[in-house]
C-alpha cells in the first residue's frame, strides 16, 4: 500500500463507486417520463444492461448485496400492485454470475460476441421477470410487450455499450492485455 495523496484516494473511491452510481442513475431514469416511441419502453431494461456491461470488466465493483438493493429499489419504483418485488434483484445477480462464469467468451472478444451474449442473457432476464410476474399475479400476461421491449433493448445495446465501455476504459486496471480471451472462470481484473 503506497502512501496516497487526497486526490489519489478520491480517484480510487470514485472508480470503486462508479458502476454503482451509473446503475443507480439508470434505475432512477427508468421512471423518467420520456415519450420517445419505443425508446421509453427500453428504460426498464437499461439497468440490466448496465449490470451486464460492468460485469464484463469489473464485477467486483458490483457486489452482490448492492445488486440486490438496486434490484429491489427498481422493483419498488416500477411495480404496480401485485408485481413481485425482488425479481429484478434475482435477475441482476444471475446476470452478473453468468457473465463472470463466461468471461472467456465475453471479455476481449469481438463486439459481436458480446452482443450475442447480451442477447442471450437479456432474454433470460426478460423471461424470468415475465414468468415471475405472471406467476405472482396469477394472470396470463400478454408476452408481446415484453418481447418488444426485449427486441428494442437488444438493438439499443450497440449504441449504449460503447458509451459505458468508455466510462470503464478510464480505468487502468481494465482488462489486462494478458487475460484477453484467456480469462478463467471467476477471475477478476484487480
Amino acid at each position: 500500500m503506497r502512501a496516497d495523496g487526497v486526490l489519489a484516494v478520491l480517484d480510487r473511491w470514485g472508480r470503486a463507486a462508479l458502476p454503482g452510481s451509473v446503475l443507480l442513475f439508470f434505475v432512477l431514469l427508468t421512471l423518467a417520463p420520456l415519450r420517445a416511441p419505443y425508446l421509453s419502453d427500453t428504460l426498464p431494461l437499461l439497468p440490466a444492461l448496465v449490470v451486464f456491461q460492468f460485469s464484463l470488466a469489473t464485477p467486483e465493483r458490483l457486489p452482490g448485496p448492492l445488486l440486490l438493493a438496486m434490484g429491489v429499489l427498481l422493483d419498488l419504483l416500477l411495480g404496480g400492485p401485485g408485481a413481485p418485488v425482488g425479481v429484478s434483484a434475482m435477475g441482476f445477480v444471475l446476470i452478473r454470475a453468468a457473465v463472470v462464469a463466461n468471461r472467456r467468451y465475453l471479455v476481449g472478444v469481438p463486439f459481436l460476441f458480446q452482443w450475442f451474449g447480451f442477447c442471450i442473457l437479456m432474454f433470460g432476464f426478460v423471461a424470468l421477470v415475465w414468468a415471475f410476474t405472471a406467476l405472482w399475479t396469477w394472470t396470463a400476461i400478454d408476452p408481446v410487450p415484453a418481447i418488444m421491449q426485449y427486441l428494442v433493448v437488444a438493438v439499443t445495446y450497440p449504441l449504449l455499450a460503447p458509451l459505458l465501455a468508455r466510462v470503464r476504459a478510464r480505468d487502468p486496471l481494465n482488462v489486462p492485455e494478458l487475460s484477453r480471451g484467456t480469462a478463467q472462470p471467476g477471475e477478476t481484473t484487480s
Binding site: L28, P33, G64, L68, G80, A83, P145
Partner: protein, 303 residues
C-alpha cells in the same frame, strides 16, 4: 496466539464457504424478498411509498430536461402533419362553436329548471394540479408518478383528470408523491355509463391503448362514436366524467379509445369530489379532509 490463529482459520473457512455459495445465497435472498412481498402487501406498499418519496425530488430535477426532449420530439412529428392538422382544427372549431351555442342555451335552461326544482348541488370538487415527474409505463403496468402527495391532500382513490377526460385514479400516496394508475392499466376496472343509452358497463384496461368495455346487459345498443362516462357506481367517482369513445364494436367485444392522450401528459389534475366510497375506505382514516373549495392551500390551484 494459537486461539487467534484458529480464529483466523475458521474465519477464512467461513469466508470461503460464503464466497462459494454467494450466488445461491443472493438468489435465495431475492426469492425470500419476493415471498415477503407476496405475504405482506402492506409492508411492500409502505416500502414503495418511501422509495417514491425518495426518488421524486430526483425525478423532478430531471423532469424539465426530459420535458424539453419530449417537446422537441413532438414538434418534429407535428411539423410533418401541420397542414392536415390545421384543416382538421378549423373544422373542429366550427363544430365546437355550434356546440358552444347549444351548451349556453342548455346551461340557461338548466339553471332555470334547477331553480324550479330546488336542486341541491353535489359537494363542490377541489382540484390539485400536479406535474407528472415519472412514468410507470412498462410491459406490465400503465401509470405515472405525480409530484404531490398526502401533504396537500391527495388520497388513494381520487380521480386524476386532464382537460380531455379521466386519466386514472390515485393508487399509492406518499408524503410528497403519488402514483396514478391509468385507466389503460391491466388492473383498472371502472364502472361506466354509455352516455346515449344510459346503459351500465365496466371499462377494463389491458395495458394496450384501447380499453375493453364489458357490458352488463347487451352489446346490441352500442354504436361507434358513443361517448363513455363514469357512472358513479362503486362510489369512487361522481357521475359523468368523460372517459372515452367507442371505436370498434365486434362480436361481443367493444373497444374504447380514451380521450386522454397518455403519450403527451405533462400536467394533470387530482380531483377530490368529496365522495368517499369503496376505494377510499381502506385508507379513509388516514386521508385528511379536503379543504372546502375556495380556500386554496399554498402552492396549488383550486378552482
Amino acid at each position: 496466539m494459537a486461539i487467534r490463529d484458529d480464529f483466523e482459520v475458521v474465519a477464512g473457512q467461513v469466508r470461503t464457504v460464503v464466497q462459494r455459495f454467494a450466488l445461491g445465497l443472493l438468489v435465495v435472498a431475492a426469492f425470500v424478498i419476493m415471498l415477503i412481498g407476496k405475504a405482506d402487501t402492506v409492508l411492500v406498499e409502505h416500502a414503495r411509498v418511501v422509495a417514491l418519496d425518495v426518488a421524486s425530488p430526483v425525478l423532478e430535477a430531471i423532469a424539465r430536461p426530459v420535458a424539453y426532449a419530449n417537446r422537441a420530439i413532438a414538434d418534429l412529428r407535428e411539423f410533418a402533419s401541420l397542414r392536415e392538422e390545421n384543416a382538421r382544427l378549423r373544422e373542429e372549431n366550427a363544430r365546437l362553436l355550434a356546440w358552444q351555442t347549444a351548451a349556453r342555451r342548455l346551461e340557461n335552461e338548466n339553471e332555470g329548471l334547477r331553480g324550479l326544482a330546488n336542486f341541491r348541488e353535489g359537494p363542490e370538487a377541489s382540484f390539485i394540479t400536479a406535474r407528472i415527474v415519472g412514468d410507470s409505463v412498462n410491459a406490465y403496468m400503465r401509470g405515472a408518478l405525480l409530484n404531490v402527495g398526502r401533504r396537500v391532500g391527495v388520497a388513494p382513490g381520487q380521480a386524476v383528470v386532464t382537460g380531455e377526460g379521466l386519466a386514472g385514479r390515485i393508487a399509492e400516496v406518499g408524503e410528497n408523491s403519488a402514483r396514478v394508475l391509468f385507466v389503460t392499466d391491466v388492473n383498472s376496472r371502472l364502472p361506466v355509463l354509455i352516455e346515449r343509452t344510459r346503459e351500465r358497463a365496466i371499462l377494463a384496461g389491458d395495458n394496450s391503448t384501447r380499453l375493453r368495455l364489458t357490458l352488463l346487459q347487451s352489446v346490441a345498443g352500442v354504436q361507434r362514436g358513443d361517448r363513455i362516462v363514469t357512472s358513479g357506481h362503486g362510489g369512487s367517482f361522481p357521475v359523468g366524467i368523460p372517459v372515452g369513445e367507442v371505436v370498434e364494436t365486434n362480436e361481443g367485444s367493444v373497444r374504447v379509445r380514451p380521450f386522454t392522450d397518455f403519450s403527451r401528459l405533462e400536467f394533470v389534475r387530482v380531483v377530490d369530489y368529496g365522495v368517499t366510497g369503496l376505494v377510499g375506505s381502506t385508507s379513509g382514516g388516514t386521508a385528511p379532509q379536503t379543504a372546502p373549495a375556495g380556500t386554496p392551500a399554498p402552492g396549488q390551484k383550486v378552482r
